[in-house]
């Protein structure tokens, strides 16, 4: 009886574990099935047709996504690394501990709230939606990821290396910039890639900021579209052909995210510094 119970429980755990993965496989199968059929060269390189007309592509969304990611990186990477260096430097002090918690809090703010914040800070001041407002919204999500990655990689640098550098007569800031930062760069880079994967799929923060645009736009003061925004508007539209394109767009987005994540994984292994 005892052994029977044990067997049953183990079976149940394995069964439920595999059942957990079924939605994942199902979603991937559906995206492949619906996505691949709507993808061709024209899909990548043409702009959307007016509502209701068949055809058109997602060039505006691809360009918009890269524009948003580029400016979000420009804002977040330097500030994020700076925050991470602060968290490392003051980790023993009370202020450092409080800020560590605050960074966690920043990371846990729901993305829709982030959208409202960026709207109030920038869109309201500028008077219209813009790519820069979208980038700021994404930055608020991106920042804590980079800060944490920086702090965690800094902590992995063995203390003996810092001691060696200091004993050779280099000053403390020099040790940070010439020894710790160069060693940590791979870890930070991998954090950046994970973060990029994360924010490229964000939609809620862009609703009230980047807003969407069915034309090609590279001006950061004007609204832009993104892959995720396009998926949302096309899904909620009544047009059959737009639903098809939403699947194509989802396929492109998932591939982009998976590529970013796998580079960061491979990179972490390959670039890992050997001490």
């Amino acid at each position: 009886m005892k052994i029977f119970k044990d067997r049953i429980f183990k079976f149940l755990v394995i069964f439920l574990s595999f059942l957990t993965l079924t939605p994942l496989f199902f979603i991937f199968y559906i995206i492949l099935k619906n996505g691949l059929s709507s993808i061709n060269l024209k899909f990548f390189f043409s702009l959307p047709k007016p509502p209701g007309e068949i055809g058109g592509g997602i060039l505006n969304a691809i360009a918009g996504t890269f524009l948003l990611l580029f400016f979000a990186s420009l804002i977040s990477i330097p500030i994020g690394i700076f925050f991470g260096m602060f968290l490392y430097e003051f980790k023993e002090k009370k202020i450092g501990k409080i800020c560590n918690i605050l960074i966690d809090v920043l990371q846990s703010i729901p993305s829709i709230v982030i959208g409202i914040i960026a709207y109030l800070w920038i869109v309201k001041k500028m008077g219209h939606f813009s790519a820069i407002a979208g980038s700021v919204a994404l930055s608020l999500i991106f920042l804590p990821i980079i800060a944490k990655a920086t702090k965690e990689t800094f902590e992995m640098v063995p203390f003996s290396m810092i001691e060696t550098s200091l004993s050779l007569g280099s000053s403390y800031p020099r040790t940070i910039f010439k020894v710790i930062l160069p060693i940590s760069i791979n870890g930070i880079l991998s954090g950046v890639l994970v973060g990029l994967g994360r924010i490229s799929g964000e939609t809620a923060p862009l609703l009230f900021t980047a807003f969407g645009n069915s034309f090609l736009n590279f001006n950061i003061c004007k609204p832009v579209s993104s892959l995720s925004l396009l998926i949302f508007t096309y899904t909620m539209s009544p047009y059959e052909d737009w639903h098809r394109q939403a699947w194509g767009c989802a396929f492109v987005l998932i591939i982009l995210i998976l590529i970013l994540n796998s580079i960061s994984k491979v990179g972490l292994k390959k670039w890992k510094v050997k001490f």
Binding site: K5, L24, F86, D104, I116, P173, F208, T235, A250, I257
Partner: protein, 286 residues
Amino acid sequence: MSFEKIYKRIIAIGGVLIIGLLLSIFITLFINSSISIKKFGFSFLINKTWDPVFENFGAFPFIVGTLLTSIISLIISIPFSLSVSLFIGEYYKDTIFSKIFETFIEILAVIPSVVFGLWGLFYLAPIVRNLQIKFSLPPTGVSVFTASLVLSIMIIPYTISVGKEVIKLIPTDLKEAAFSFGATHYEVIKKIILPYAKSGIIAGFLLSFGRAIGETMAVTMVIGNVNTIPRSIFLPGNTIASVIANEFLEAITKIHISALIELALILFVITFILNLIANNIIKKVV
């Protein structure tokens, strides 16, 4: 002054900026919702009507909707996330199986919310519609239940990420002692692993719960967006996040915008508290 001191002074600005950033987020939300806070006061939380035409706003239907979706999704996800945590952290610890499983769960975690919504709307909603027809309810397909189903899949990785770690941390000698007395694996899990890992697992649930509360896109796409308290979980409703996503751009009157920002403030405060509790527990355990 030495270089070290100068460096520390400069780097300390980071702390000021972090605190300033969080404070200004809170203050921005607070100031911009002041009209609504002044007008409705505490009754905002218990008022059951949300009427932009007559400018009467109460958050109660959305609070109910948010609690319903997140609690139901958490309950649905519990057996699955516990199983996978045990699978990775105990039964197949450090084997190729658990590596593969971990990778798949990570992939599940990076799928964007909007893609879950797309899938939920076109594949889950029709299944729910069949259920609704069986219970002779209006066959909307989109409902509180549909949203909870999608959410339950989305939050599973968050519980697992904490759960597997705390299960892995349990000292081997404790387990071996139990095994040497002839305990089966099931008994070890029930009597040693689960009690030992309890607080960590609860922290994982709290984190997932926080995620579920703030989740916007997937929920907005499958919940049906009706501003009343749902009489059944198989009927459409709205959550705090989804009503903001739906109405913020359409709101014209100042009081409407202000009420929506107050909803955002509520969301911010709830996730803030949940996160503090969960992190506190995790820090004690790990």
